[in-house]
Symmetry: C2
Subunit: 487 residues, 2 copies
């Protein structure tokens, strides 16, 4: 191809430079050039192209090359060829109106200096090397069939590893047939509730009780599936499960027994027993959201409620707090009578979770790396929590930290009426954090308290000290110090 | 701990051996032993346990160890402690009725010798080494933020790589803001249609036209979302898109333009233009399922219809045929006005696709490995198709193979009325395959033809020859050969 720019002016009656360069065969280059010219409106709809013989001569190409290119573009719909009327630019090939750029998706903005929002482990701590080593071992050992259509329950290797792990660490009563792997907690809730999925539909129907404080998107998923949510009051001993009997139509309850989210207390033993008792006598179901069960700093974590009665409790967990939400792996441990319904809702076509990651996680757990990583992170988060508590005790003793020493977040109780301004002050200081109000159920009737939910796991290790210092500067003064109370 | 088995008979009035062995501290071992005993019903509800001092003496353990173990089991709900009544096994802790094993999930059984079902690439051909190398590069280069909460559109690295790839190979008009990564085709359909997802719900409402032959689960997903499906007739030039104007309420159409599934022809250029024209004049939408667009053996594949009008076509693709369904990655290229609705349906909490796999695939594409793998597989599948066609021409000339030389499957046309018995005969010979009937829309009105859908990509390379031989033995004889037509 002698020229990389060829002017078609003589042939089509107007200036048109075709850029005949770039990778690929001559035919491919010509097709691309003509297609681009049509796309960009340089060749208007209806324009008659030169006969392939003349274009071939102009461009110094073989006739077949140009004929092939025309045929290809006709097949794609850019050109039309009609006996007697030659080859023309198709009418349908006009350039579209300039595409409107969509608004950026509502992801976490990065315009703040310190991120103290709850929900994510320290991103920098992901064990890249150990994970890759596990991936290499897992992919090397995997039989070919892993690359074919999969079991909708998830890979058996992962379900076996989880069986051992959850029995040992969380006291869950489980066998691999009861586990369904999913892509995280939201996916699990959809499989349990969403009636529009597949022919079977989600197996659960409402209403369902929830804790008066929790993650709003849990309720959103239930309500979107037509399941009404009924808030239970909370006190220092967790959810008041005795309120369940006051709601005769409630079919089940979603709880965070190990570490109430976000207020931070474990469910009292008497209430653990009471909720199982309620489930047995009322044919109810308990959904146990064990979102951070491995992270307890003052003692061995309390085991899962599921262990008390595996036929009445769905146990739900994921690696989103322990490893990273980027892995997109979670699991349900199901009562026997729910397995088929959940698999029907999942469908054989939507395996959802990456099989490669499933195999890697199975190896990561079985090889002890998962325990090792959690131990390391437990120590790190514990130091962060201790530091927060110590600094507050020294410099802001009027602010109390509620809940047990556990998890990836803490709740700072604030003087009444100060939460909204504290959140605003933090935002001005470049700190992203949430107030308690955003976690309150819209129909909750218990008294609201003011507080901040501080995710101490989110900042990078080197940035944590500065983040706590910045936070301190935004906290409301004690009423004794406040200008209003001084003479 | 002097004994690994300790009999509590004297203390609780019946024989009970606690197995005090296994890993962990003495406290952990004792907790596990007591918990197991309660679980298995060896310690009945209400049984009073010996005071911790006496048990400590019996077991040769420190008193604190036993007291801690009791406290832990009380906290977990296995035991109850009441002033004056001592420590007892909790009433709620009775063993559950023996769990019913769920029926195994409906995955592909392996009871057949040859699998000639369509839908999956050759499992053994997954490029493990190259994939791992890409994973290593991708994970090494990734910034820490990839392990935090992600963009619901998918990683920008992957959307950029797909932009280049789809423009170059499939003639798609795309920029990264228009791509939403998902976990496969089923997930994409749910995001587009499922109104129960999130507050926004799926953006599309029906009715929708579909091809009279196709994958039944596509229609199932639409119908489950309340979208009525209307079948279009098919001929050798693809779907009769002119029938769209006869259905005034139809909002869109789902097509397989590059290679009609399963019958195998490409959509005729005039119909490509006509469907775009229909969409423009009727405010309609075209869903382009480009499920095997890279696999054309006789010529360069026809580009995507989407290139004709990106504001009227949703382009859908995945790696399920090109790499493996185990990777669980697919993508949508959306018209500008659908991006927000799809992201609202997806929600920020259900990123779904593994970020690690997304980064790996981005590297795999950008480094040229994806093209290389597809070239290799194209050659292999082409040989398989050629072999099937040749063997049939030689040994069963009354059986014709329809469609163009493309894809991972072929349709064998059978004499009228022979399909059901041919499928049954194949099953007796240990061959898994599907007849055309299973792909027919229940309300299709076009004449049904008999045929077999042969997935020639599924068997392992070494098993393919034998599979074709076995298939030949099950095909119906030509009417000239059949016993009935002989005297």
């Amino acid at each position: 191809m002698p020229e990389s720019w060829v002017n078609l002016a003589e042939r089509i009656g107007s200036d048109l430079y075709l850029e005949l360069s770039g990778p690929g065969s001559r035919r491919a280059v010509l097709i691309r050039a003509l297609r681009d010219a049509v796309r960009e409106g340089l060749l208007a709809p209806g324009t008659r192209l030169p006969p392939y013989r003349s274009l071939a001569a102009d461009l110094g190409l073989a006739r077949n090359t140009v004929a092939d290119a025309y045929a290809e573009l006709v097949a794609e719909g850019w050109l039309t060829a009609r006996q007697g009327s030659g080859t023309r630019v198709a009418e349908g090939a006009a350039p579209p109106t300039r595409a409107r750029r969509p608004k950026p998706a509502p992801v976490r903005p990065t315009a703040h200096r310190y991120d103290l929002r709850q929900g994510a482990p320290e991103a920098a701590s992901f064990p890249r090397t150990a994970w890759l080593a596990a991936a290499r071992r897992a992919l090397g050992a995997a039989p070919d069939e892993v690359f074919g259509p999969g079991d909708p329950r998830g890979r058996i290797e992962l379900r076996r590893a989880l069986t051992d792990y959850l029995t040992r660490v969380r006291g869950v009563r489980v066998d691999p047939d009861r586990i369904v792997v999913c892509s995280g907690f939201a996916h699990a809730l959809r499989l349990l509730f969403d009636g529009s999925r597949g022919a079977g539909g989600g197996p659960l129907r409402g209403p369902f009780a929830v804790e008066s404080y929790g993650l709003r998107f849990h309720c959103d998923i239930l309500e979107a599936s037509g399941v009404r949510t009924v808030p239970l009051d909370l006190d220092e001993q967790g959810a008041l499960v005795e309120q369940l009997v006051e709601e005769p139509r409630v079919r089940g309850v979603l709880l965070t027994p190990a570490h109430q989210f976000p207020t931070g207390g474990p469910l009292h033993p008497a209430r653990r027993a009471a909720v199982i008792d309620w489930a047995r006598t009322h044919d109810g179901l308990v959904l146990e959201d064990d979102y951070d069960g491995e992270f307890r700093y003052d003692r061995v974590p309390v085991g899962a409620v599921q262990g008390l009665d595996p036929e009445r409790v769905v146990y739900l967990g994921s690696v989103s707090k322990s490893l990273s939400p980027a892995v997109r792996l979670g699991w349900m441990v199901l009562p026997a009578n729910l397995v088929e319904g959940v698999l029907a809702a999942k469908g054989t076509r939507e395996a959802s979770a990456s099989v490669l990651d499933q195999l890697t996680l199975a190896d990561f757990i079985a090889s002890g790396q998962y325990d090792r990583h959690i131990r390391r992170m437990r120590q790190r988060y514990r130091h962060r929590r201790d530091r927060l508590v110590t600094v507050l005790a020294e410099q802001a003793p009027h602010i109390t930290v509620t809940g047990v020493a556990a998890g990836l977040h803490a709740v700072l109780r604030l003087p009444p009426g100060t939460e909204a301004s504290a959140v605003k002050a933090a935002s001005w200081q470049g700190i992203a954090l949430d107030g308690l109000a955003g976690f309150r159920h819209p129909r909750a009737s218990m008294p609201a308290g003011d507080g901040l939910v501080i995710g101490y796991s989110t900042p990078a290790e080197h940035a944590y000290g500065a983040a706590v210092e910045a936070l301190l500067r935004t906290l409301p003064p004690s009423t004794a110090d406040s200008p209003a109370s001084r003479p």
